[in-house]
Symmetry: D2
Subunit: 365 residues, 4 copies
Amino acid sequence: MKNTFGNQIALTIFGESHGTGIGVVLDGLAPGIPVDEGFIRSQLQKRRPAGKISTARREADEYVIESGVFNGHTTGTPVCIVIPNTAQRSGDYAATRSKARPGHADYTAYCKYHGFEDYRGGGHFSGRITAGLVAAGGILIPALAAKGIGIATHISRCAGIDDRAFEDPAADTVALNQADFPVLSPEAAQKMQEAIELAAQEGDSVGGILETLITGLPAGLGEPWFDTVEGMLAHALFSIPAVKGVSFGDGFELADQRGSAANDPFRRENGRIITTKNSNGGINGGITNGMPLLIRCAVKPTPSIYREQQTVDFMTGENTVLQIKGRHDPCIVHRARIVADSICALVIADLLAGRFGTDYLGGEE
Amino acid sequence: MKNTFGNQIALTIFGESHGTGIGVVLDGLAPGIPVDEGFIRSQLQKRRPAGKISTARREADEYVIESGVFNGHTTGTPVCIVIPNTAQRSGDYAATRSKARPGHADYTAYCKYHGFEDYRGGGHFSGRITAGLVAAGGILIPALAAKGIGIATHISRCAGIDDRAFEDPAADTVALNQADFPVLSPEAAQKMQEAIELAAQEGDSVGGILETLITGLPAGLGEPWFDTVEGMLAHALFSIPAVKGVSFGDGFELADQRGSAANDPFRRENGRIITTKNSNGGINGGITNGMPLLIRCAVKPTPSIYREQQTVDFMTGENTVLQIKGRHDPCIVHRARIVADSICALVIADLLAGRFGTDYLGGEE
Amino acid sequence: MKNTFGNQIALTIFGESHGTGIGVVLDGLAPGIPVDEGFIRSQLQKRRPAGKISTARREADEYVIESGVFNGHTTGTPVCIVIPNTAQRSGDYAATRSKARPGHADYTAYCKYHGFEDYRGGGHFSGRITAGLVAAGGILIPALAAKGIGIATHISRCAGIDDRAFEDPAADTVALNQADFPVLSPEAAQKMQEAIELAAQEGDSVGGILETLITGLPAGLGEPWFDTVEGMLAHALFSIPAVKGVSFGDGFELADQRGSAANDPFRRENGRIITTKNSNGGINGGITNGMPLLIRCAVKPTPSIYREQQTVDFMTGENTVLQIKGRHDPCIVHRARIVADSICALVIADLLAGRFGTDYLGGEE
Amino acid sequence: MKNTFGNQIALTIFGESHGTGIGVVLDGLAPGIPVDEGFIRSQLQKRRPAGKISTARREADEYVIESGVFNGHTTGTPVCIVIPNTAQRSGDYAATRSKARPGHADYTAYCKYHGFEDYRGGGHFSGRITAGLVAAGGILIPALAAKGIGIATHISRCAGIDDRAFEDPAADTVALNQADFPVLSPEAAQKMQEAIELAAQEGDSVGGILETLITGLPAGLGEPWFDTVEGMLAHALFSIPAVKGVSFGDGFELADQRGSAANDPFRRENGRIITTKNSNGGINGGITNGMPLLIRCAVKPTPSIYREQQTVDFMTGENTVLQIKGRHDPCIVHRARIVADSICALVIADLLAGRFGTDYLGGEE
C-alpha cells in the first residue's frame, strides 16, 4: 500500500506540486471527534513559508473537506481533504527537467516512473505535499490532546547551534505549539535564524535536528517485533522530505554508553511507575513504558541551493552543470516541525485505536 | 499485522525464549530459489554466542524446515522454519519475574499482556527470537547475491572505538561475511574485543554502531511517501533488540552540513549514472539511485548487567533493588550484525518482488 | 484498512451522498497508462440514472482529477478523483432520520457511528459512492483491454426473467459494453424493463443476478489460500450495495452435481491448454487456469420502496411505520453492472501488478 | 500478504500434504484466552476422515503448540501450531504428476510455480492444510463462546437432499457441535450418507451446501465498503477447497424477490431492536444488525473421482486420459463444516478485536 500508512487509522496521500490539488484521505477515525477548522488553518499556517528564511512561493492553503465531517464532528467514515494548488509557476521547471538536481528525486523519479512523472516543482516529491499531512494532524492533534496526550517539536539543533533540552514537558509543549519558530531558547532561536539568513545570502542551505516530545501516553502501546513504536514512528517520519536519521531517547549517544549508564531505573512515585531518567525515550522492547517519548529526526540541508552544481542530464546522458532558479527554502527544519507533529499524531492515534478499539478517540452523541 | 513484516514477501515471527520452539514463516518467495541448508546453518552460527564476549547459553540452533522447500528449492508457498528450544533453564527467572529489569521489556510486557506473558528469559522479546530471522536470511541473502546484490555489516563503532569506513565495497563485503567478529580494521577489532571483555569483568556492558552496505541495487526502488526505502528499512531494523537509532548515508552528521556539502553531484561514468560521493546513502526522495545503500543502526549497551540496579516490583508496587543473574551478553553488537543483514535482505527482497513481480528472485525449472 | 482495497494497486473510497464531494484515490498504477477522459465520462454515464426505471436524482457527475495524471497518462503516483455533489436535496431526510428503513443501513450506521453519521441520502452507504469506483474503472478497464483482457457484465436474470448465457465471448463483450441496458437477448431486455416498470408502478422494487465474464487472463494468477481469485473478487464485489451472494462458474448449481459432471476436462487445442467446458469459472485451486472467469452476483431488490413498512425509531425505541419518500430506483441491477466491471478491473489489475510487477500495465516513454 | 488473513487478528497458513509439517501462526490474540487442548483435539477429530464416506488416509493430527501459550492461556504473542505429517505415501503421486487432474490445481500450480511446486498429494492445495485452520478455531471458538457468540454449521443440502432449516438457534447450535455428521434432520442425514456411499460405489463424488449460523453478535461490526462483513467472510471462506459460492441470508433467492418481501422489518421486542425475519442474514450495509448471521457456502463435488477422465499432460502437451488412484473422499462437505466454523471464528474475532481493541477476547490475571 504505497502511499497509505497506518493500520486502524490510515492516511493516504496524493498530489503533485503543480497539479490540480493535493491532499489526504484519513480513514478509521472514531465518530464524534470535534473538527476545529480554525485550528486546521492555524496548523497549515505554521507550515507555510514566511519571511526571509523561506521560499517566496506563498500558497493560500485553502482546504476543502470533501467528506467524513458532519455537523462539526467526524462521522467515522473517511475524511478527504483537498488543498487546491493556485500559485504554481510551471514555466520555471520545463527547461531543466532532465538535469538531475543533486540531493533531489529528479533522477530517481525518472528511474521509477520512466519519464511519466510530473516533474514540475518536484511533483509528488514536493515538500508541498506535506500540507495534507498537516491538515490531517489538525484533526488528530486535538483528539489526542482531549485524551491528555501532548505533542511538541523543537529544533534541537540547526546550523550547528543547539537549543536547550526539554525541561518542563507541559510548559515547553505549550510554548512550542504557540511559536512560529519552534525553539525553546530565545538566544538559540536568534542565532539559528541568523545562520539561516547567512546561508541564504551565500546561496546555500542548512539542516538540523528536530526533537519531538510526546507526553501522556499509556504504557503498553506497540509490539515487540516489526510494529514496535520505534519502527512505526520511524517508518512514517522518514516521509518528511530530507529526514535521513531517526532515533529515540539518547539515540546514537547510547552507542557509546555502558549499560549501567544507559539503563533507566524504575521507581514508584506518587502511585505511578516511572523511570528516574529517560535515556530510552519512553520505549522498552518496542512498547511504551508511560514515560514521554523522545524522538529525534536528522534533517539534511535543503538540496535546493543557488550555487552552481555538477550533474548529469539523465535524458541525454551528458555531464553538465546546473544552477537552480525558482523559489525555495534555505532551511526547512522550522517548517518541518509541524509535519513531524502531524505524523507522530497519526502513528499514535493508530496505535491507540488498535489497542483500545475504533471508538477510542471519539465521542458519544 | 503485528508480528508480520513485508508486502509481497512477508515474514511472520513467533516464539518465546523458553517455549517449545521459535521460528518464522516466510511467504511470497519466488518458486525455484535454491535453498542451501549448510549456508543457513553457517548464518545461524554467526549469530550464536561464542567465547568470553557472549552469554554462556549455547543453543544447538538445529532448525526444521516444515514447508515450502522441495527438492532443494523454494516451492513458492510459505516456508516455515522452526528452531526448537533445548537449552533453557527456566528456574533462573521465576523468582524475579516482577522486578522490572531496567532497559528490558518486563514492565512494558506486563502492561501490554496483563501478566499472561511468558516471562522466562525475556519470552517473546528475547534476542533469541532473532534466530528465526537469521534462518530466513539464510535463504534470502543467496537469492539476492544471485542477482548481484551484496549485503555486509560491520561494527563501525563499539565502546567508543571506530572501525575504518568501507573502502572497497566488493572486497569488504566478502571479508565481513567470512568474519566471526565483523570489523574491517584488525586493530580496531582487537581493541573492541578487549573493551567488551573489560566491561564484562566489571559487570557491565557496551553498545555500538552497526553499518550496513548494500551494493548492486537497481535505481528506482521504493516510494516517495511512507514506503520510502529509508522508512521500510528503519521500520524493520528497529526490531533488532537494542537498536535505538537508524540513519542513512551521513545520517545525523548531515544536520550540521550545508547543502553545498551534503548534495551528491551526479556524473556519468563508464556509461552509468553515479554520484561522485554518497552522503545520501544511495537514496534520493525515498528511492534508490543505484549507489550503495549505507545504513547505520545505533545499538544500545545490553541492558542485562550484573551490577545492582534500582527498580520496582511491578506486581507489589514496591521500590527495590535487583541483581540480575543468569547468562547474558556483555555486548550484542557483533551478534546483531547478522540479524541486520537478514532484515535488510527481507526488505530488499520485498521491494524487488513488488517492483518486478513475484518470480523475480526465482528460477525456471 | 477499512475503505481501502487492493495490495499492489489499491483503491481508497470516500464521500457521502450529500456531502461536498465523493471520490477515490487509486494508487499503485503503473506510470504511462493512457487516461481517456471521454471514456471515463461514458462509464459514469452508464451508471447514471435514466428513464422511468431509475431515480429522479440526476447528478452531473462532473469529475476532477486532482493528481496522478500528467500529459494524458498516469504518472505512477496516486490518482485522486473527486466528483462534487450538486443535486442533493437534504431536506428530504431529516424528519425520518431515526426511522430505520428496512433493508438499509440506517440502524447499523447508528450502531457503528453512534449518531455522528451523515444520515442524509444514505450518507457513506449511498449507491452514489460507487461513482468513484466507476471513474477508477474508467482508467483501469482500457489499461486491461490493452493487454487483451476484456470485462463485460450482463443481467443474467431480473425479476425472474432470464437472459441468454454468454455464447461468443468477444462479440458479447463488445455488445454489452455498448449497451445502455446490458442484456444479451433483446426479448429478455424488453421483458425485464417491463417488469421493473411494473414494480415501480406498484411502489415496489426488483432484484436480479449480474454475470460477469473476464477474458484474456493468463493462467497462474491468485493464491491457494486467502488471496484466491474467488476470495479477492468476492471480497470487493460484496461492496456493491445490495449484493448478497457471489459465485464462480456454475456456483450453487455445482452443489447438486456429481464430480464426473462438475470437473472440467483439460485438452490441448491449437497449442493452448484449455478446458472443454467451464463449470469452474476459470479458476482451479484459487488460481486462474486461462479460461474465462465467470462470476455471478446476486443483487437483492432495492430496499427503498414506496409502500408503508413496519419499523422502529431507533432513537426513541418506538415501533412505528415508515413510508419512504424522496427519489430512488425500483431496480439497481442495470446500474450496478458497470460497478461490477469496475471492481473486477481493480482486482484483476492488482493481481497482475502483484504477479508481474508495478510497471506491467504501463508504458515506456 | 498471500497466505495471511485478518487485520487485528491474523492467521498465516503453511504446509504441504506430504511435507514435514503443516500449521498456522495465529497472531493478535488477546492475552489470557484459555486454551483447552482437549477441545482443539476434538475439533481436529471432527475434520478427520472416518467411515466409508471418507478417504482411507488417516493422520493422527497430533499437534504441537510451539509458542504463544503459557500456563494454559494465550500470552498475546503469536501462537504457532505445527501438525506433523506422518501417514503420507508419496509414491502414489510421482507417476501422474503432470497429468492435470480435472477440477484440481495441478495445472494452475504448474503455471504459477513453474514446476517447483510440491505436487505430492495436492501439496499446498491439499484439504489437509485446513487442519491448521481447525486447530486455530479450537482456540477462537471457545473465546467467542465466552462472549456469548455461537457458531454452528450444518449441511443444508447434499446430493440433492435438503436438511431442515435452522429453527431454534441455541439448541441447533449445541446439537450440530456435538454431531459427527452435521445435519439437523436425522432422516436427511441418513439419506445424505446413503447418497454419498452410492456415489463412492460408482467411483464418483457429490457436493452440497453448508449453512452457518452465528449468534450473539453485537450490532455495528463491519465496514460500509470493502471490509463489509459479507466481504470479509466470503474472502476467507473461499479458501475452503471446493467452495464456489458464498451468500448471506436468502442469498441468490433474493434476486427473485421484490423489495417488499426481501426487506426485514425492524421491531423492538423485550427492549431489543430486532428484525421480524432475517432475509438479509443479519447484515445491512455491510454491518451487523444484531440478528444471527446466516451464511451459505456452495461446495462442489470432490474433484477426485475414480472414473477415467480426459485431460492433458501439461509437461509434454499431449492429450491423454487419467484414472486417479490413491485415497480420497467421495464427499468433503461434512468434513468442511468444521473448517467453515473455524474460518468464521477467525473473521468474527478479527472484527471484534478491531472494533473493541486487542484485549477484547482475553482475560485479566
